[in-house]
């Protein structure tokens, strides 16, 4: 077995993706993991979520409650008697997502206990707690004492902290650090010695565990709080109001950190960001030192955006020089912080990059951004930033980490390839198709061809891409100004897609997850066969944007279908409505089945076994 770079599943012990196809099944399944962790159905233990009425606690009570519902695991929600009803506030959202009946059932499984912070409620024993997810305030002593109380009462209990920043070594428990918005964000940064069943269970119920190293603040908060810190420092240098900095950062990178703090709740979020930066600065120096305005806003909990009646009156239009300086203030520290994380090997590079995009609203992950800038320009930006903010020059700057920028780990952030000598697999771990994916996909194809692989499966990565939603519309913006740019995108991406058809003896597009839409479906339909799970939604929503499918979806789909089915394809194109894969067999999809059947069929088809499908 050979891989272009390490598959991300491997980072928590689930091996290669190609093995999933070869073995005809997923590496672990939720049923048996639940039995192992919580005991079998006759003797199911419970999860305790402490701080369950808090921002994280309530969100995770809902997320785990809904995903574990069918296993009858009691969810004990523990909090102080006077805590505001955070769980109750989640009910409307739950109803919106699942309907009243299922929402009621999920809530019925949540058992609420009050607790004084010292002595656990005696009835807790009756529920046999096996796993504690701690989501209480970010204060080290309180957390440690909490674990002590639990361990004394339930010696074998597994514990994970949701802490934003304390390393596992300080806390003495493993970490499962989630990302806002907690009821829906699937990502969890995990810290543990060896990949645990709990982490694998998170994966098996459709969440996204991402192992990171045991350093202060992990990856997400270094990036998120770091970006906030960069904005705050720029503000000190320029006087620019926070709201305007926020808009410019959004334009530059994607996130709006100030708005995010207000949205999460400035009071809590300001404190958490301060705490993260403060602890980072204790370890790593002035690069992370909190600014004075964060110091006082952590106390006051004041919002960063002006109040509604104070919506800004004076705009800040920047000259090119001013914009250039702002870029240094923002990108400089971000690149420097990234150098620190790479120096410390904080995680698989695709993890670090994906955390930016999935949890921190980056249009393009920080590593993809640095790759785009190039080593020389990136280093220069940091050096120029140091001239503006000399206090940061003295701490943690590791330009040498960018020397490896040409390695596959750097170059294949979004697309990986594996093969076993005869069948190759290309996995895409980004939900939407963009220029980076396009380039990396070409590299993956080149690599497989250089390894003389003629049979290939194209699939999501069974990790980050829990669905494939189509083209990344931010890549279209240049085309709004210049039609030729639009033409170029369409031509380049279609050329890549055609390689799947023209350059392999057999290519199989594999569609699992919730949906495969737009550009991603167009890409997939260039494969000789399309194999899907029954419930995967397939569709071409372009017309609703409105754009025209530009990766040959408007003709390639017809070319492969019988004339009498063309009206169905027209329906997809003209209404933008998706259909279930099981309903598109014969005219768009070649086979739809359960996940296991689909996996098996994909392997049979790719490996040339007797699959019984006729090539359309």
């Amino acid at each position: 077995m050979k891989t272009l770079r390490q598959p991300t599943l491997d980072t928590f012990g689930l091996g290669n993706v190609l093995d999933i196809f070869k073995n005809g099944k997923l590496p672990v399944n939720a049923d048996s993991l639940v039995d192992t962790i919580f005991g079998d159905s006759s003797n199911r233990g419970a999860i305790v979520i402490s701080g369950a009425n808090g921002i994280v606690g309530a969100g995770k009570t809902m997320q785990l409650g809904s995903r574990l519902q069918k296993y009858n695991i009691p969810i004990i929600a523990l909090d102080f008697p006077g805590a505001p009803d955070g769980i109750g506030m989640q009910y409307q959202g739950l109803k919106g997502s699942f309907g009243q009946k299922q929402a009621d059932e999920i809530m019925a499984n949540v058992i609420r206990f009050n607790y004084d912070g010292k002595k656990l409620p005696s009835q807790l024993k009756d529920f046999n707690p096996r796993f504690l997810l701690e989501a209480i305030p970010e204060i080290l002593d309180i957390k440690k004492n909490h674990y002590k109380v639990f361990r004394e009462t339930f010696p074998g209990i597994a514990i994970r902290s949701v802490t934003s920043g304390f390393p596992s070594s300080e806390l003495g428990v493993g970490i499962a650090h989630p990302a806002f918005p907690h009821q829906i964000n699937k990502m969890w940064e995990t810290v543990e010695d060896t990949p645990s069943d709990i982490t694998k269970l998170l994966w098996a119920v459709g969440l996204i565990p991402v192992p990171v190293s045991d350093h202060w603040s992990f990856v997400l908060d270094v990036l998120f709080c770091g970006l906030m810190s960069a904005g705050l420092r720029y503000r000190q240098a320029s006087n620019m109001p926070y709201w305007k900095i926020d808009k410019l950062i959004r334009k530059l990178l994607g996130p709006n950190p100030f708005r995010a703090h207000d949205a999460i709740g400035a009071k809590g979020a300001n404190f958490l960001t301060w705490s993260c930066l403060y602890h980072l600065s204790e370890t790593y120096g002035n690069l992370f030192k909190p600014t004075f305005d964060l110091e006082y806003r952590k106390e006051s909990g004041q919002n960063w955006y002006p109040l509604n009646h104070f919506r800004p009156v004076v705009n800040w239009t920047l000259s090119d020089d001013e914009l250039d300086e702002m870029n240094k203030w923002i990108l400089g520290p971000m690149i420097q912080m990234t150098s620190l994380m790479l120096h410390e090997n904080r995680g698989h590079l695709s993890h670090i990059n994906a955390i930016c995009e999935i949890c921190a609203q980056f249009r393009s992950g920080i590593l993809a951004t640095i790759r785009q800038l190039g080593t020389e320009k990136s280093i220069k930006l940091v050096e120029e930033y140091h001239k503006l903010d000399p206090q940061s020059a003295s701490s943690c700057w590791y330009p040498e980490v960018f020397e490896k920028i040409n390695d596959p780990e750097w170059q294949q952030l979004y697309v990986n390839a594996e093969h076993d000598g005869s069948v190759g697999l290309i996995t895409i771990n980004r939900e939407s198709y963009n220029k980076d994916v396009d380039i990396e996909l070409n590299c993956a194809i080149n690599w497989l061809k250089s390894e003389n692989i003629e049979r290939v499966i194209l699939s999501g990565d069974f990790h980050f891409s829990t669905q494939l939603v189509g083209a990344d519309t931010s890549d279209f913006y240049p085309a709004l100004e210049d039609a030729d740019k639009g033409y170029d995108i369409s031509l380049n991406w279609s050329t890549t897609a055609r390689r799947l058809h023209d350059e392999f003896k057999v290519s199989v597009g594999f569609l699992n997850g919730k949906r495969c839409l737009g550009g991603m479906l167009e890409l997939m339909m260039h494969c000789h066969y399309l194999i899907a799970t029954n419930d995967c939604q397939v569709g071409m929503p372009e017309v609703t944007l409105p754009v025209i499918p530009g990766m040959e979806g408007c003709h390639w789909s017809f070319r492969k279908a019988k004339k009498e089915d063309w009206s169905k394809i027209s329906d997809l194109l003209f209404t933008g409505q998706a259909v279930k894969a099981s309903g598109a067999v014969g005219w768009l999809i070649d086979f739809a089945g359960t996940e296991e059947d689909a996996i098996k069929m994909a392997w049979k088809t790719a490996s040339g076994d007797n699959h019984g499908l006729t090539k359309r």
Binding site: P241, F310, R311, P312, V313, V314, N315, W316
Partner: protein, 402 residues
């Protein structure tokens, strides 16, 4: 009376840390749509940013405005929040003397060692003045609504006379000649347009974009909108509203803001882009003349100030005033025996309008820029204000590099 040439010796105005918005005529720009206090605060922040002065260097804020604005009870602390730096401060007003008085008071703050860096921020919106109802026991029209600007200009409660009538009274007393008044006005317009073309005002006036509630552009404030090139013929045919007062020879209402800093000498050197330039305070005084002769009061204030400082008009490098009526300048010339051509080289409120609070602040800033361009010297600033008051001050600009 002993003469002295130093006042507030600790206080300085750091060169180049100032700025003013343009003053669009009332009801002509986006400024008619906004809370002018908030606008002024945010504009001050932007101006300081362009001048590379961190707002965090400010200790204190003195506001000057004459027309009530929304939430004015919260005074300087509220506007400081719009500047985005939470400092204390207060608000003062003295009709059209506000823009100078605020600077003088800021200097006293610094000199008394109360604060080292004091922001002066003056502003007014004459457009759509708030409407006030003042219930009073003895008022014969108990609930009469007052729209602030026009009612005030039209009626001095102490004399019962309008500003405009005062101009007529003063013109008659000093026997000013309509032709000279028109010629002076023409010349003032030429001065303004020449200064604009020369680029000198680029260091003073900052274009600002105003946003609507959705955050979309509402309008650019990038000209003294309403100022048009006048010809002598046009002026000549304008009907007199009172002696020597026509639509052309009096100012117009406008909206705007202006800001500068008053600091210690050390701070001035730290904050200014040209630390070699020293701007200090020499003297200041005020005079109140007989009822309804406001237009002569500035000249009398200047006479008094010259006596106090032992300086003469010939010592002045720059002379600039707030002249809502052209007769002000003609009377000044007569009383001080000073050629009016030498006054207001870079424009004046007669031309660019009269937003009240910030008017004299912009006059000061323009005068200081002019003095620096001329290599330094004494700068005389003066003007009239409601209540037949004249105010005058002298500043001194020294260029250490010369």
């Amino acid at each position: 009376m002993t003469s002295t040439r130093e006042m507030f010796s600790r206080a300085r105005i750091p060169y180049g840390t100032w700025g003013s918005s343009f003053f669009p005529a009332w009801q002509t720009s986006a400024l008619a749509e906004v809370n002018i206090g908030q606008f002024a605060g945010e504009a001050m922040n932007r101006i300081l940013s362009l001048r590379k002065v961190p707002t965090t260097s400010l200790d204190y804020l003195i506001l000057g405005s004459t027309i009530p604005w929304h939430w004015k009870f919260w005074t300087a602390p509220m506007i400081a929040s719009c500047v985005d730096h939470r400092i204390p401060g207060f608000h003062l007003e003295q009709a059209c003397a506000t823009g100078l008085q605020a600077v003088i008071v800021a200097a006293s703050e610094v000199h008394s060692n109360a604060n080292d860096v004091v922001g002066v921020l003056t502003f007014d919106r004459t457009s759509d003045s708030p409407v006030g109802v003042f219930p009073e026991r003895r008022a014969h029209e108990r609930t009469m609504a007052l729209a602030d600007v026009w009612d005030n200009l039209g009626f001095d409660p102490a004399t019962g006379n309008a500003m405009l009538s005062c101009a007529g009274f003063a013109a008659r007393k000093h026997k000013t000649d309509r032709r000279e008044v028109d010629e002076l006005t023409m010349y003032r317009y030429e001065q303004y347009f020449n200064a604009k073309d020369s680029g000198l005002l680029d260091n003073v006036l900052v274009p600002l974009e105003v946003l609507n509630v959705q955050g979309k552009p509402l309008g650019m404030i990038d000209s003294d909108k309403g100022v048009r090139k006048l010809t002598y013929d046009m002026l000549q045919v304008m009907p007199e509203l009172d002696d020597c007062v026509t639509g052309g020879t009096q100012t117009h209402a406008s909206d705007g803001m202006a800001t500068l800093l008053v600091t210690t000498k050390e701070k001035a050197q730290e904050l200014s882009s040209r630390p070699e330039i020293d701007i200090s305070f020499v003297g200041k005084t005020e005079m109140r003349t007989y009822p309804s002769l406001m237009q002569e009061s500035p000249a009398m204030a200047v006479q008094k100030l010259l006596k106090k400082t032992g300086l003469t008009m010939d010592d002045m490098t720059v002379v600039k005033n707030h002249n809502p009526f052209a007769v002000n300048d003609v009377i000044f010339s007569k009383l001080l025996n000073y050629d009016w051509h030498k006054i207001n080289n870079t424009g004046c409120p007669l031309v660019w309008g009269h937003p009240q609070g910030p008017t004299l602040t912009r006059v000061i800033i323009e005068a200081l820029e002019e003095a620096v361009a001329l290599g330094g010297g004494y700068v005389l600033i003066f003007g009239c204000a409601a209540g037949d008051v004249g105010i005058a001050a002298i500043l001194k600009v020294t260029d250490g590099a010369k």
